[in-house]
């Protein structure tokens, strides 16, 4: 089956005063339009804010169908804004706070996963989908639908969408997801081991005395591996921030490992620390706060960031793709 006719009844006009987070299954571009267009059009007709974060080709298809009504829709290029999936929740935070106090229900379409995503990217997208339930639990009237392309995505990715979304829409009908595991699966995902590194090129320990040399080691290693200068600087700052976190919160010391993985450079900082807030680094602290900007910076400096809790401590694994246009 390639195409579900989703009727508007799947999206009731009376908005609940709560966060709604639905996975919507579709097949191909025609299926995408059938699944998403009624949701967006209904929001526009009710004169409510609606933000659509999808790939550029999907945006174009929606704009073509919406015509002049597309001027009432905010679009975000998910390929660039969501390259690191940890940067997607900030997009929704900004959308919600921009319209806070407007007294209107908010509507969003977010498609973080597409077939070309790499395995570690998909793992972080799935973590992001689970964290949405936590991040916007108190957001009030905000309906977010997440389209999943059944024609292009593997079965395990589709099954995971049922675990991270309280409701699913399929065959035009919306129902509670039987396999939704709530915020419980966040903790499980945070403890899932990461793939073992390839051949490690640099490995060293650091503590408070030599933490500032961590970024120099990353810079020279990245240059030797032909990473562009500006992106190497970004990775070096990210590694430095992770190392400083180890000094402050991870027992005062840590270990740095650097390796190359296909077309990416990977930089990992491990320490004896414990992760407390699964949403750390996905919102900026208040302007008067002294702390909380390190992980935010890391998330915005790297193509992909994976934070995990292991029996021996915390891991921050940062990736920068080689030969990528900025």
């Amino acid at each position: 089956m390639l195409h579900y006719p989703v009727t508007e009844s799947a999206f009731p006009t009376r908005r609940p005063k709560a966060f709604r987070h639905d996975a919507v299954f579709y097949g191909g571009e025609r299926g995408f339009l059938a699944a998403v267009l009624p949701f967006v059009s209904a929001a526009v007709e009710r004169d409510e804010p609606v933000l659509v974060a999808v790939l550029p080709a999907r945006e174009q298809a929606l704009r073509n169908e919406l015509g002049p009504a597309s001027r009432q829709v905010e679009f975000v290029d998910m390929e660039s804004a969501g390259r690191n999936p940890a940067r997607i929740i900030p997009v929704w935070h900004d959308f919600v706070s921009r319209h806070a106090g407007g007294g209107k229900a908010l509507n969003g379409v977010g498609e973080p996963i597409w077939p070309e995503r790499t395995a570690p990217e998909i793992a972080e997208c799935q973590r992001h989908e689970s964290l949405l339930n936590l991040a916007f639990a108190a957001a009030g009237s905000f309906s977010l639908i997440c389209p999943y392309d059944e024609a292009g995505l593997p079965a395990d990715v589709l099954a995971a969408a049922r675990e991270s979304h309280p409701h699913v829409v399929e065959d035009g009908k919306r129902h509670a997801s039987a396999s939704y595991c709530g915020v419980d699966c966040i903790d499980v995902a945070d403890r899932r081991p990461l793939a073992p590194p390839h051949e490690i090129q640099v490995e060293r320990a650091f503590d408070a005395r030599d933490v500032t040399s961590v970024r120099r080691d990353v810079t020279s290693w990245a240059a030797a591996n032909d990473l562009e200068r500006a992106r190497a600087d970004d990775l070096a700052l990210a590694a430095h921030e992770a190392a400083v976190n180890s000094i402050r919160h991870g027992g005062g010391r840590g270990a740095l490992r650097l390796w190359r993985d296909d077309d990416s450079l990977v930089c990992e900082v491990a320490d004896a620390g414990e992760l407390h807030d699964p949403l750390a680094g996905r919102s900026l602290p208040a302007p008067e706060s002294a702390n909380g900007r390190g992980l935010w910076l890391i998330n915005h400096l790297c193509d992909l960031v994976q934070v995990r809790q292991t029996p021996s401590g915390a891991i921050v694994r940062m990736r920068q793709q080689l030969h990528r246009s900025p």
């Binding site: 030599d210 933490v211 040399s213 080691d217 700052l237 900026l284 002294a290 910076l297 400096l301």
Partner: protein, 135 residues
């Protein structure tokens, strides 16, 4: 670059110079790398500035090559502390590399910032900067 013969203890290149710009204005020029290791030097330099000799303080970042979240927090602390002593303080003219980092943390929501020293002193002359967020 790391010198393999260097001892483990490492201090990044950093300097802070305070000069009198006249009319109660002080210029704090920061150069090199402002990070967890060097941030205390900036705080110490700004801590002694107060009216009437220093009623308007511009922290010049044009020669700064690196900043981390500790450095950003030092700027925030320095500006607020100056405000509590009755001085206005503002951050000015960061280089392109430093701007990128400052923008990522939305610096204008944290401390007042201007792209040039002239604009910084102009704003200090007209605004009542009290160390709270400007912009």
């Amino acid at each position: 670059m790391t010198d393999e013969h260097a001892p483990a203890l490492e201090t990044p290149a950093f300097a802070v110079t305070v000069s009198d710009a006249g009319n109660g204005r002080a210029l704090v020029a920061v150069s090199g790398e402002l990070d967890i290791a060097t941030a205390p030097q900036l705080l110490a330099a700004v801590a002694v500035l107060a009216p009437p000799a220093a009623s308007a303080i511009a922290i010049d970042l044009s020669a700064l090559t690196f900043i981390d979240s500790s450095g950003i927090n030092a700027l925030r602390t320095a500006v607020r502390a100056a405000g509590s002593r009755g001085a206005g303080a503002i951050v000015a003219s960061p280089s392109q590399r430093v701007v990128r980092v400052l923008e990522l943390v939305r610096i204008a929501e944290i401390i007042p910032i201007e792209s040039s020293l002239e604009a910084a002193f102009a704003r200090l002359g007209t605004d009542r900067l009290d160390g709270s967020a400007g912009g």
